[in-house]
Each structure stands twice: as structure tokens, then as C-alpha cells.
Symmetry: C2
Subunit: 448 residues, 2 copies
């Protein structure tokens, strides 16, 4: 792999010296993605100077890769005519995403710079929920009439290609712009010159409604290995396409969300942007819920104060009981959350999955229960302690596997994100129940 | 979206009635991915009957989607000549993946059915580690000499296209088969007919070595939005290409691994395949480590038996202390693990990240420490208890944020998977330290 060879220090130095020629040489032939990375590292003032020496075509691609803050700064600080030119050449979905992230006032500044046609495209895209197929799609697709001959289609393609997001699929539409078929560029090249598209197109087109959730769109594209997927309205009229690169971003986003929720946090990965205070605030609600839950755990122990006074060693095993339950519960929950996300677990198979995890829980519970009972007995020389700890551990791990599986499943069924129901909630519930079983067993045995 | 309309019950019924004509009608025009799903649901005997009525071209694609067990059964139970035909038309990378999953004996049966040329391709692919670019790549790419004219290239493309994995990039090689450039199908269509590829190709080709880790390959392709990436040896000789669909699978695999490791488990998502015993065994080592850790937590409490006897209410706050530390630590760890995986966190910025998380930890610690101190005081009417719990909580959450960030970072730096260092290890370490601070503070204050 070619290494990224842009030396940021050197770039900063050249900018301060206004050595534009050397600057141009350094950035020549660099990938737009790498240039965007450099721009993000530079100060606002420096980035404008660098941006000015980038060629128009490359600048367009660089712009598409920039964060919205930097993008807005650059567009409002280069020559206004150049900004207008850039904006009107940007792809409609990138523009819509960009505008969606700007506050109202800035949004209007940018919109005012757009040509009428671009403006209506972008406003159209902005009207969809950003988490749906409509919010994800671009309007820069290629669609031809079913009657168009393959040779002519290839010719038109050459003209249209520079503006289209992907030329790898060409859609066939009827006179009402309803989607009726699809041909790949491959089919088009292979087809005899005079054959109309309608004769060799595939009529089995997978397509999605504009309102479909972006996660479902991503799953569908992954399952069938599509590079692009057409988006239609209720009458099958073609509205746009979703491309594989956007879908990869969605997959990443959704997975990050799942992972952080599973860890009990509404945090985002915008580690650079937000203040520690903001970050703490996002995590606080989850922690407060857990505090309340664990106060209940504490009051369970409170109810057994006499038992603890009689046998202080009982308190030595609170940590291992709590931690084990939490571990097993989180393991089970992670499997369900991830399995539902990748489609490897069928949402309809609740009973089967819970049953299977319950068996795993019983095995883990039996092994660890025996182990911990032995440790307790050997360590403290109290048979009572061994039995109570062993029983509580065995019960708790079985329950942990069941609850850990059941909760995200049920939450998913009620139409919520399963990751939320996992993690902290399951752990806290298990702590309360586990401690209750433990002390009840101990009190019982001590009395007997 | 077109619904999957294959009624499995109906299919089973038609198979048992041997109503092949009706069977053929039902599966006609169905997507290979959907047909593969149906085959996986059927019994071995039924699936052979259904497979026989699928057309050759579709059957090939269906085969590519099947799990290795079903695939092996079908290939060894259809007409041997048909099996040979199918095998020799399968793409080399799919074949290599399939063979990699088979036990030695079965592998040899399949290899013996392959033609010599296919065999050497597949053996070549099998020689790479399956987690590297070499293990991921396919040899069915298209490469032309730099001297070939664009028109001729397009013509040859039409002949080669059906066998190639992707025709969206065409690679340009010199006389030694060294990679020197790339043209997209789009460039080829747009170029004047008589221009040699060398004149309009891009010479800035992103490429990877065969030994590169698959996760790095996936990151690179995602970053630059490539649909395919060429793989070369140390002399830049083109060996194969990695395509976007394989990379999407890698992303999913790696993320699943991260998520389950973060939850403290070596589990896999093969929920259908493995027995509960196997599943329990995979989780057991992690749990055992945690048991040992929590026994240390228990012995910390043991050292403070006298303090607990003096003030039993101290034990009521063990759950909240332990749970909070674990929560905050896991949150911080999840952010680092995910940030490193997506590239949003720079592995070099250890100090900066730890510092920022420490501030978040201090904020969370101060708020929750104060809250829990108040609760303790109001609930138990003991000022000592309030102060001890508050101090321990504040310390513990700060430490949790620091350790949760630091551990996966360090682990990553030592060349290991950061997800392993997160989760259970951090939680257990925090429990031990947290309880120690708590009881030390309480003993101190009680003495004073």
C-alpha cells in the first residue's frame, strides 16, 4: 500500500511562507481522502490557503470528505463565485447530509447559493427522515426508458457518467418513471447493439420504499451483495438509489451505537468534538438508573443485617456473586444483540434461544457453584457458607443466562433497540435477585 | 421491496410428491440468496431434490451462499459429473474458503474433482493465512497490458466478464505482471477508442500486500470507498483482488468478535451449530479468571471484618460501589475499543484520550459520590458512612474511567486485540481497588 506521504509540518511551513508552488507539488496526486485529513488537522486559516491550491475536480471530492464545520468554513471563506460553483457540483445526497447537520441560519446561507434545480433536489432529500432509505439515497442515478437500445444506452451513459453516483447499475423505467427493471453495466456491454433494454433487463428488481429504516436497507444490501439499491415511492416511481459506500457507513454507525449501548452509554464517538462535561452528561442517566438499582441491592442486604452479624464471612462473597451474574448476563445479552443485528439470530426464535442459553447457564452455574462452594468451605471452614454460596451462584448464573437472552429479545419485539435492554439493566436486576437468593439461603441454613 | 415468497411447506410437499414441474415453477425467478436459505431449512434428502431442479447458472450462485456442510453434502450427492462441472465453475476464492472449512479427508475428495488449473489456483489461495488480504482475495480479476487500446480492452472485457469477480476496475500490468495502474470501467467507456490504457490509467493505485491483516484491508477500503483493492507480492506483482462484499463480511465478523470479547466471551455466533456444552466451555475460562479476581475482592473485605462488625451498614453499599465502577470502566473501554476499530480514535493519542476520560471520570465521580454520600447519610443516619461511601465512589469512578481507557490502549499497543483487555479484566481490577479504598476510608474515619 502506498503510504500517505503528506507531511503536515511541511504543509504548515509552506503555507506560512506562502510558497504556493511547492505546496501544489506536495499535494499533487494525493488522494482526496488524504487531503481532507490534512485539512481537518490544519487551522481554519491554513486550511483555506491549502484548499485554494487544490484543483476544482479534486476539491469537490475533498469537500465531500470534510466534516460539516470545516466544510461550512471553507465554503463561506473562499471566493463566493467559487463556492457557488462547488456547491452546485456537489452530489445532492452529500449536500443534503451537510445541510442536515447545519443550524437553520447557516443552512439558509448555503441553500441561497444553490441553483433552483439543485435546491429542489436537496430540499426533496431533506424531507426524508435521515435514518431511512430516503435520507440515505442520492438522486444521481441513471435511468433509461425500457425502449432504449443498448448501444444508445452505452453512448448516453458516457455523457451522464461524470454526474452519476454509480454507473454499475442502470435502471429501466416506464413512461410514468415507474421502476420496471435493471441492467448492469456488464449486461449492457454484453448485449447486442440494437436490443432494447426491456428485452434483456432483469425484471426481478429488489427495491425499497423511501420510508424503510436504514438498518434494514443495510442488511438487505449485505445479504444480496448489491452495490446499489433503488428507492421507490408507493406507486413504484423511482426516487433515488442507495449505494454501498453509504451502507458501509450505516453499518458502522449502527454497530457503534449497539456496542456503546450494550456498555450502558449514550456516548458518541465524537471524541474530538464534545467537552468532558457533555460526555459525562450523556453517560449520567444510565449510571443514575444503576445507582437506584444498586441501592435496592443494598436494602436487600440491609434486610439480612442479622445474618451478616452472625456470619460476617457472608459479605466476602458478595463481590464474586455480583460479578459472575453480571458477566454471564452480559455475555448472553451481547450474543442476542449482535445476532439480531447481523441476522444470524431469527427474531421469531425466542423460545429456542432462551432454552439453549438456559442450558448453558445451568452448566456454568453447576461448575462455578461447585467451585465457589469448595473455595468458601476451604477458605472459611464453614459448611453453611459453602452451601449458601454454591446454591446462590448456581441459581444466579442460570437466571443470568435466561434474563440476558430474554430481555433484549422482548425489547426488540416491542419495537425497541435490543442493546438498550441489555447491559446495565440486566446486571442490576441480577444483582438484586442474586443477593436475595444468597442471603435467604444462608439465613435458612443457619436457622436449620 | 419484493417479499420472499417461497413457501417452505409447499416446497416440502411438492418434493415428497415428486411434483418436479410445480417445484420448478415455484423457484423460478427467485434470488439465489433466497434459494440458499430454503435449502438450508430443508433436510439433506429434500435439499438434493430441490437442488436438482435449479438451473446450472443459478445453482452455481446458490452453492456460493450455502454453508460448508450443506455444500459438501450436495456436491457429493448429485451426479458426479454435475458436481465436477459446478466445482470447476466456482470462483477460486469461494472454493478456497469452502475447502478451508472442511476436514482434511473431505478436502481431498473435493480437490480431486478439480481440474489441474483450478486446483493450482485454489492451492495457491489456500497457502495464505485466512485472516490476511491473501486469504480474502480472489484470482478472478481482469488485468490488461498497459499497451492495450481502450476499444480492444472493452471487447476483451465482454468475453472475460462472465468469469470475473468484478469488472468495475481493470488493472494495468507491465510485461512482468507488475501492477502499474488502474482504470475504471467508466474511464474505459469514456476514453477514445484508440487510446492505450497506459495513457489514461491512474498510476496512483492503492494496493495491499498479501500478508496485510484483513481488518486493515477492510479499514482501507472503507476509508477510500473502493469497490475492489488489488493485492500484490513484494515485487508488486499482481496476485488478486479483494472485493467490497468480502470486506463487508470481514467488518461484520471483526465487530462481532469485538463485541463478544468486550462482554467477556470467546463465544461465536454459530448459535445453531454448537452444543450448549461447547458454548459453556468457550465462556468458562473468562469466568474462571473473574472468579479468582473476585475472591481477591472477598479477601479485601475479609481484612476489614472488624470494621464491618462495627458498622454492618458498610456492607449495604458494596453493590453500588462495585456496579458503578464496572459500569463506568466498561463505558470507557467500549469507546476505546470501538474508536480504535473504526479509526475514529488515533492509536498514538494515548495521553490525550486518557486525560480526557479522566476528566469525565472526575465529573461522574464528583456527582455520584455526592449523591451516594447523601443517600447513605439520609438512609442510615451515619455521617461516617456517607463520607466513606462518597470518597470511595469518587475515587473509584475516576479510576474506572482511566483504567477503562488505558488498558485496551496498552493492550492494543502491545499488538493484541484491545477488546480482550476491556470488560471483565477492568471490572475485576476496579472491584478490588474500589473495595479497598472504601473500607480503608471507613476504618480511618471510624478510628478518628
Amino acid at each position: 500500500m502506498r503510504q500517505v506521504t503528506i507531511d503536515i509540518k511541511k504543509v504548515k511551513e509552506l503555507i506560512s511562507k506562502k510558497a504556493l508552488k511547492s505546496l501544489r507539488t506536495i499535494i499533487q496526486d494525493q488522494h482526496p481522502v488524504d487531503l481532507a485529513e490534512v485539512l481537518e488537522e490544519l487551522s481554519h486559516h491554513e486550511s483555506i490557503e491549502l484548499f485554494k491550491v487544490i484543483d476544482f475536480d479534486v476539491a469537490l471530492e475533498v469537500l465531500a470528505e470534510l466534516g460539516s464545520e470545516k466544510k461550512f468554513f471553507i465554503l463561506t471563506n473562499v471566493n463566493p463565485r467559487y463556492a457557488v460553483q462547488l456547491l452546485n457540483e456537489m452530489s445532492a445526497d452529500d449536500l443534503a447530509d451537510f445541510l442536515g447537520e447545519l443550524p437553520e441560519e447557516k443552512k439558509n446561507i448555503v441553500l441561497s447559493l444553490l441553483e433552483t434545480r439543485e435546491q429542489s433536489d436537496v430540499r426533496g432529500l431533506l424531507s426524508y427522515d435521515e435514518n431511512t432509505a430516503g435520507g440515505l439515497m442520492t438522486t444521481e442515478y441513471i435511468a433509461f426508458s425500457v425502449d432504449l437500445k443498448s448501444e444508445e444506452a452505452l453512448n448516453r451513459l458516457s455523457e451522464l457518467a461524470p454526474d452519476a453516483e454509480t454507473v454499475y447499475y442502470v435502471y429501466a423505467v416506464d413512461s410514468m418513471h415507474r421502476l420496471v427493471g435493471v441492467v448492469s453495466l456488464r449486461d449492457l456491454i454484453l448485449a447486442p447493439a440494437q436490443t432494447p433494454i426491456g428485452e434483456f433487463m432483469s425484471t426481478e428488481v429488489k427495491k425499497v420504499k423511501a420510508s424503510m429504516d436504514q438498518e434494514d436497507v443495510a442488511k438487505l444490501m449485505k445479504k444480496y451483495g448489491f452495490l446499489a439499491l433503488p428507492v421507490v415511492d408507493d406507486n413504484d416511481v423511482l426516487l433515488g438509489i442507495v449505494t454501498v459506500d453509504d451502507v458501509m457507513d450505516v453499518m458502522e454507525e449502527e454497530t457503534t451505537e449497539d456496542m456503546l449501548k450494550l456498555a450502558g452509554s449514550d456516548e458518541k464517538l465524537d471524541t474530538q468534538a464534545s467537552s468532558p462535561w457533555m460526555r459525562a452528561k450523556r453517560r449520567l442517566p444510565w449510571i443514575m438508573v444503576a445507582v437506584m438499582g444498586e441501592i435496592i441491592s443494598g436494602s436487600v442486604i440491609n434486610n439480612f443485617s442479622y445474618t451478616i452479624k452472625a456470619l460476617v464471612a457472608l459479605s466476602f462473597f458478595i463481590p464474586v456473586l455480583m460479578d459472575m451474574g453480571g458477566n454471564v448476563g452480559t455475555q448472553s445479552a451481547a450474543i442476542v444483540v449482535r445476532g439480531l443485528a447481523t441476522g444470524e439470530i431469527n427474531p421469531a426464535s425466542l423460545g429456542k434461544n432462551v432454552l439453549r442459553e438456559a442450558v448453558v447457564g445451568i452448566i456454568l452455574g453447576a461448575i462455578n457453584g461447585t467451585l465457589i462452594a469448595l473455595i468458601a468451605y476451604i477458605w472459611q471452614g464453614e459448611i453453611v457458607l459453602g452451601i449458601a454460596v454454591g446454591i446462590a451462584m448456581a441459581f444466579n448464573l442460570t437466571l443470568a443466562a435466561i434474563l440476558g437472552t430474554l430481555m433484549p429479545f422482548l425489547w426488540h419485539r416491542m419495537g425497541h433497540d435490543p442493546a438498550v435492554a441489555a447491559g446495565p439493566f440486566v446486571t442490576t436486576a441480577l444483582d438484586i435477585i442474586g443477593l436475595f437468593i444468597y442471603f435467604t439461603a444462608a439465613t435458612w441454613i443457619l436457622k436449620a
